[in-house]
Structures are given as C-alpha cells and as structure tokens.
C-alpha cells in the first residue's frame, strides 16, 4: 500500500469511528485489526480459514453470512475462552490470548472488526457534565457537537419499553425518583436508556407479518440477543444493534478511502527521531495471526485504538518513552449485581403478565442516573450468562454469609445448590440490575507488562484494579438504591451478588488525556501518534457507559489530525 496517510490500530469502539471520519475527509486510511471479520464475503469461514488479506468496499459485506455466524447461542458467541466474541485469534482451534489478571473477576473484551462493541449492549449515554466540567482538559460544551454527530450517525434513541423496563420504571417511581427524559444529566432520576439500537419496526405488533419476516426488516425485533450478537436487519449496515462493524465500518468503506485488514496484530510502533520533527511515529510492525509472518507498514500518522489494555501494552512493548501514567489510572466502574425475584401475582398487577421475561427487548433498556454516585441499569440476558453472573462474588458462597436483619437483601454472595436452583427456576420472573460506579482514578491501578511471560505478540499485560475508599462507599450506596428500587417494585426476594472488583467490562483511562495525550489526543512524547479508544478518558465519566464519549472524542480527534497535519 503506497502513501498511507493514517494507520488505525484496532477496528473497535473508537477505531472504526476515526477511520470513517478520516476517510470522509479524503485521507487514505488503513485499519489493522487483530481479530476476525464477521459478515464479509472475503472471510466465508472466518474462524477456521485464513481468507483474504483485506477488504475496502462495502460490497464485500454479506448479511446472510453475518446471520449464519451470529447464531444467537450464548456459549458459541460469548464463551470467554472459545466464543466467536472472545479476546483471541480468529482461529478458534487455538487458545485465547493470555492476560495476567491477578484478582477475582473477568476481563471481557473482544477481538474482531467491531471490537468489543460486537457484544456490547449499545447503551449510549453522554458523560455527566459534572464529571467533565472543570475536571477534564475539555469542557462538556466542547464535547456536545461531537456527541450530537455520533448520536445522529449511529443513531441513538431512547429505548423502547418492554416488561422489564416497565417494571424498573414502576419501582423507580415508587422509590421516589423522577423521570429525567434528557441526554444531559444534572440531577438524579430514571429514564429510558439512550441506546444505539434502531427503534422497533412499526409492524412489531402486526400479526400479519411474522417475526421472522420482521427480522429481515429495519428495526429492533425485541429478540433480546443484543449481548450475544444482533443479526437482525435487511443488510449489514441496517442491523438493529449498532456495533461499529455495522454502523461506522460500512460508512468508512463507503468513503472509498478506507481499507480494513483483519487478522493483523500490531506488535510494535516504529518511531524516528529527527531534528525537525522530534520523536515521532512513522509506522508499525504487524504479525499475521494465521501465518505468523511479520511485516512493517508506514504512514504519516498512527492512531492507537486497541482498547484500554492493548494500547498501553503496545506502548510499553514498543519501548516508547517512559511516562508514569502510561497504563495507569484504570477505572472499570467497580460494578456490582443486584437481582430481584418477583411473584406472578404481583407481576400480573403491575405488568399485566405473569413474567418479566428478561430475554425480551433491549438487553439494557432502562436506567437510573445519579451524578456523583453512578448508575443503575436493567440487564436481561440468556440463562447461561445470567447464571454465571451469580457465580462471582467477593464474599464467597451465600449460604455461609447470611445477611443480617437490617440488610436490604435476602441473599448475599455467590449462589449454589438450592439457592441457585431457586433463582434459576425463577429466571423468567427476575429483574437484574447492574450497578456501575463513578469510581475514582488511582495511579496504582492499571496495566503493566508481565516481566516474564510473553506470547507471540510480546510481553503479556498484567491488569490490576483495587477500588478506592470513596469508590467503595459509592458502590455501597448504589447497591442499596438498587435493592430499594427492586423492593418497591414488589420483589419478593432480593439477591446481592457482591461482585469482585475485577469485573472488567468498562475499561477506561489508562492513557489519560492531560497525562499521556493532550486534549487533541496526540501523545505528548511521540508526535504523530494519536489515541482513539477508551484509554484517553480522564476519568470514569461519572459512572456512565464509556463508548459514546470515546466515539465523540474520536470524531473530534479526526478533525484535529487533519487540521494539524493535512492542511
């Protein structure tokens, strides 16, 4: 490839966005992605055969292939070790890529075009203004036009209501919270989830059209498979859940200026030091994940968008200048899990139906926001994922940790035996709430290189996170709020799982703005090296889901790249 303007490393939440934006501005962009590409004709068997090298036209996109691959089976898609959405090479006969997590929990990231947005639930709230203003090097106002652009492009809408959202709203109202139907959250309250899921087709309740027919039409079918991969829609670019592989990637390809190469793991950033330019990035070294062949590629600008673990890992493995904040300051929203089990009788009164049916509708359709504390969100998933979330606890087995009389929950800890059976037998009458904390940046948390263990891509990352006292206090308040909401909604039993601190689902701020990159997301120490993923966040955004902010910043960064280097 001659005369590349920009190389983007990673085609996930941020990378796909900056690639599309730069392509639209006429730059020649190559996106290198470590994982597979699902739904592209050039990779008809993406998990077992090498396929082609790259693709640069939306004509290669194939919705039938996509529907075959995203088959809605939870283990096939989401097994962390061997699922299609795992963090690992495309070839599923090989092991996942190793991470050294020195604590209880899971690291849930995906390789592949679309990155972790392949599995994400597409919740797209803006950061709380109070978490940005006078805190970040940028103001909330400066972000708003970019939020708007992403919200229009994805697009973002308020989620439709199904039974579980209705139950959540009912409980929230009973618990005394107000409805806040806004995008700019300054006061506590509940609201429908702003998400990147196309609103249901107007025929959703038209019985003359089968649900199978609906699944080939535009709009969410409320099938509830968000997390296991949404395959519903008439074409790739109209798939209902707007992972970047179905939103920004098709748009990037349509510019005619963007080429995407999956199965290409970047193992090194190449730099040069000249008098006129100083230390600056000039290219990358990649390793083909099928053949093991290595290659060097050059461009005017390099953008790291490999996520909050791999971006710092790549920096460190490339031997780029020492910076005490590279990899440091990780936040993960110090998450927790609270579930309510309801009686048929109550549900009929509130919902008119005997079940909550957590598998129906947007996976996370409703939320409660509390600037200064964090958020609560409903989560409805398939049974395997639901059960496995009951299996992770800082306090061990529930039967050995009976709650006290004053506790707002009936069960605390990891479920097993009878309690587990009871919870799973009540699966259809369960409402789960994910607690997501406005957790504090702490330089001790983050990514370092394992001094000894390496894989084919270099020294492996060690990931550590311990919540600060303040974060612990906040989470504790939020879990109580969740229990109260469920109780007010009529839950007959409340379960607090007490998740360990290492639940890595929202990873952010390991290459912080103001410390590693400037406010235009260019690295302070290596010129022409930009970052466009969750790692640049200054903090945890107040506890809200991170991706929309990453995408807004990526949109802004594209402008800054062009202004500085291509005018």
């Amino acid at each position: 490839m001659a005369n590349l303007d920009v190389i983007v490393i990673g085609a996930g939440g941020g990378g796909a966005v900056i690639a599309k934006e730069l392509g639209e501005k006429g730059l020649n962009v190559l996106v290198l992605e470590a994982g597979p590409w699902y739904g592209n004709k050039k990779w008809p068997n993406p998990n077992s055969q090498q396929g082609a090298q790259s693709s640069s036209t939306s004509e290669d996109l194939d919705v039938i292939l996509y529907k075959q691959l995203l088959n809605k089976f939870e283990m096939n898609m989401n097994d962390l070790v061997s699922g299609r959405f795992r963090w690992g090479p495309a070839d599923r006969s090989r092991s996942q890529w190793f991470r050294n997590a020195k604590q209880k929990g899971i690291i849930w990231q995906c390789s592949g075009v679309g990155g972790t947005t392949q599995t994400y639930t597409a919740n797209c709230p803006r950061a709380y203004p109070a978490a940005i203003d006078q805190v970040w090097p940028l103001s909330y106002c400066e972000l708003v036009p970019y939020y708007e652009k992403v919200e229009t492009t994805l697009p973002v809408n308020f989620a439709a209501t199904t039974a579980k959202e209705e139950l959540f709203y009912y409980g929230a109202k009973k618990a005394g919270w107000n409805l806040i139907p806004t995008l700019d959250v300054t006061v506590p309250g509940y609201r429908p989830q702003p998400n990147a899921i196309l609103p249901p087709n107007e025929n959703i309740t038209n019985l003359n059209i089968t649900v199978e027919q609906l699944s080939w039409m535009e709009g969410c079918t409320l099938a509830g498979h968000c997390i296991n991969g949404c395959p519903h829609g008439p074409s790739i670019d109209k798939i209902a859940k707007r992972s970047t592989n179905v939103s920004y990637v098709p748009l990037a390809l349509k510019t005619g200026n963007v080429c995407i190469r999956p199965n290409a793991f970047v193992i090194k950033i190449i730099t040069e030091n000249t008098v006129s330019k100083g230390l600056h990035a000039v290219g990358v070294k990649i390793r083909d994940t099928w053949t093991g062949e290595q290659e060097e590629l050059r461009a005017e600008i390099i953008v790291m968008a490999s996520g909050s673990i791999e971006s710092p890992r790549l920096w460190l493995n490339s031997g780029l200048p020492v910076n005490p904040w590279v990899g440091r300051g990780l936040v993960n929203h110090y998450m927790d899990w609270v579930s309510g089990i309801f009686d048929e009788k109550n549900l009929i009164q509130i919902l008119g139906t005997p079940d909550v049916n957590p598998f129906v509708g947007n996976t996370c359709g409703a939320r409660l926001d509390y600037p200064g504390l964090g958020t609560l969100q409903t989560v409805g998933m398939s049974p395997g994922l639901t059960a496995s979330f009951y299996g992770l606890s800082e306090s061990g087995y529930s039967f050995l940790n009976k709650p006290s009389m004053n506790d707002p929950w009936d069960i605390k800890g990891r479920l097993s035996g009878y309690e587990l059976k009871e919870a799973m037998d009540s699966y259809r009458r369960t409402l789960n709430i994910l607690v997501s904390t406005d957790d504090e940046v702490d330089q001790r948390n983050g990514i370092t290189l394992d001094p000894v263990i390496s894989d084919e891509n270099g020294f492996v990352p060690v990931v550590t996170y311990r919540p600060t006292k303040k974060s612990i206090r906040k989470r504790s308040e939020l879990t109580k709020m969740a229990a109260d909401l469920l109780r007010k909604a009529g839950a007959k039993k409340v379960i607090w799982t007490n998740w360990p601190a290492g639940m890595m689902i929202h990873l952010e701020s390991t290459m912080r703005m103001g410390f590693v990159v400037n406010q235009d997301c260019e690295s302070f120490q290596v010129k022409r090296l930009y970052i466009a993923d969750n790692s640049v966040h200054y903090n945890s955004l107040g506890g809200v889901n991170p991706t929309l902010t990453t995408q807004a910043l990526a949109t802004r960064t594209a402008e800054k790249v062009v202004e500085k280097y291509f005018n």
Binding site: M75, E166, A387, L392, I453
Partner: protein, 220 residues
C-alpha cells in the same frame, strides 16, 4: 484406547471424579413440583456432564508457549486444580471441620475432595478461597500464587453455571469438539429448566416509549 497407559487412565479418572464432585456440589439434581400430585427430578450438573466442560476450558484456555513459561508443559491445569481442591479438603478434614462423614465410594479413584459431602465440598472451596491452606505445597501454577487461587474458586463456579445453563449440554456427541465443529443436537437442558425459549427472531411485547428525542441536524 491405544496409546494411553494405565497411569494416565487413572489420572484421568482422578481428574474426572474430582470435577464430577465439584459440579455435583454446585448444582445438585433437585425435585420440582409438577402438579398437585407429583414431582419431577431436574438434572444437576453432574448428570449433564458439565464437569467435562470445566475440564475442557481449563485445558484449552492457555496456549502452549505460555504454558511453557508457566512451567505447565507436562502438568495440566485440570490436574493442578483437582489437587488444589484436595488441598482444601485435606485442610477441612484435618482441622476437624467436616459436618458429615466421609464417603469413599461415591466417586471412584477420586481424592479427598470427592469423599466430602456436598456441603463440605463447598466449605473446602471456601477455605481455599480464604487462603486458609498452605500455598507453598501446591503445584504450579497455584504454588505461592494467592491471587490465582482465589480467582480460580470463582472461575470454577462461573464455569459450572455457564456450562449448565447455556447450550453446552445440547452439543451432545460434539460437545468436546473444537467450537467450530460443535452442533446443537437438541434443546439445551438448562434452557428448558429455566423456561428460556431459546434463540428467537423477535417478540411482540412492545409497550411504547417513555420518552423520545429529536436528532440535531448535523452538517455533512
């Protein structure tokens, strides 16, 4: 089977029994009321072979080159993990904490862990989780590795739950194949047990919108 020595065979039996005992304690079979007059037995994780999934994951999650660096080449993760469970069991027994008598006949070729009653197995896991065992005596990779030891106690539970309640049991005769070659042969037990209808094209339960908003027009 050709090429497998008696030693390997008994090792495999030991590992299998240990993980059978594990998943049996986490998800035992139970009875559920069917109607006024009868109950049905609902299969637990042992009957559904979920231990095979747990062992499969332990053996397949780490690539060979990394295993080499962990000095795990000749050992196996499932063997080391079975021994870890035994260490917890021995500690529970030796400190006189067992609640029920040992039963050496339930799982053939199993170690101390398999002789414990179900609840004592979970209590042994709790001892391990609280690091009330001697970490020095464990085998690699658990030896002197408290973080991994603690993490693994969650992992074993999580895997059992995911194996039992996902479609894994329905992979039937293909369940131990590489994922690309597995085929769903019937409706998964765990889905049936929970009333989950399985993959769907959609549902009609649309109850309107609580709020909507207009998109700002954005240039270009």
């Amino acid at each position: 089977m050709l090429g497998i020595s008696e030693g390997e065979r008994s090792l495999n039996r030991y590992i299998r029994s240990t993980f059978q005992a594990l998943v049996h304690a986490i998800i035992p079979p139970h009875y559920r009321n069917k109607d006024l007059f009868g109950t049905v037995q609902v299969a637990g994780a042992q009957e559904l072979h979920v231990y095979e999934y747990v062992i499969w994951i332990l053996e397949h999650s780490i690539s060979l080159p990394v295993k080499e660096q962990l000095n795990l080449v000749n050992g196996s993760m499932s063997k080391a993990t079975a021994e870890l469970l035994d260490a917890g069991a021995v500690q529970l027994i030796q400190t006189g904490q067992i609640l029920y008598p040992l039963n050496v006949t339930e799982f053939s070729s199993g170690g101390p862990f398999t002789t414990l009653s179900k609840v004592d197995r979970l209590r042994a896991i709790t001892l391990i989780e609280r690091l009330n065992i001697n970490l020095e005596n464990l085998s690699i990779p658990y030896k002197s590795n408290p973080e991994l030891v603690r993490d693994m106690m969650d992992v074993l539970n999580e895997l059992t739950l995911f194996g039992h309640y996902s479609e894994w049991t329905a992979y039937g005769t293909t369940r131990l194949f590489s994922p690309e070659y597995r085929r769903v042969e019937h409706f998964p037990h765990g889905w049936y047990q929970t009333g989950y209808p399985g993959p769907s094209f959609g549902y009609r339960d649309f109850r309107g919108f609580l709020a909507t908003y207009k998109h700002k027009k954005v240039d270009d």
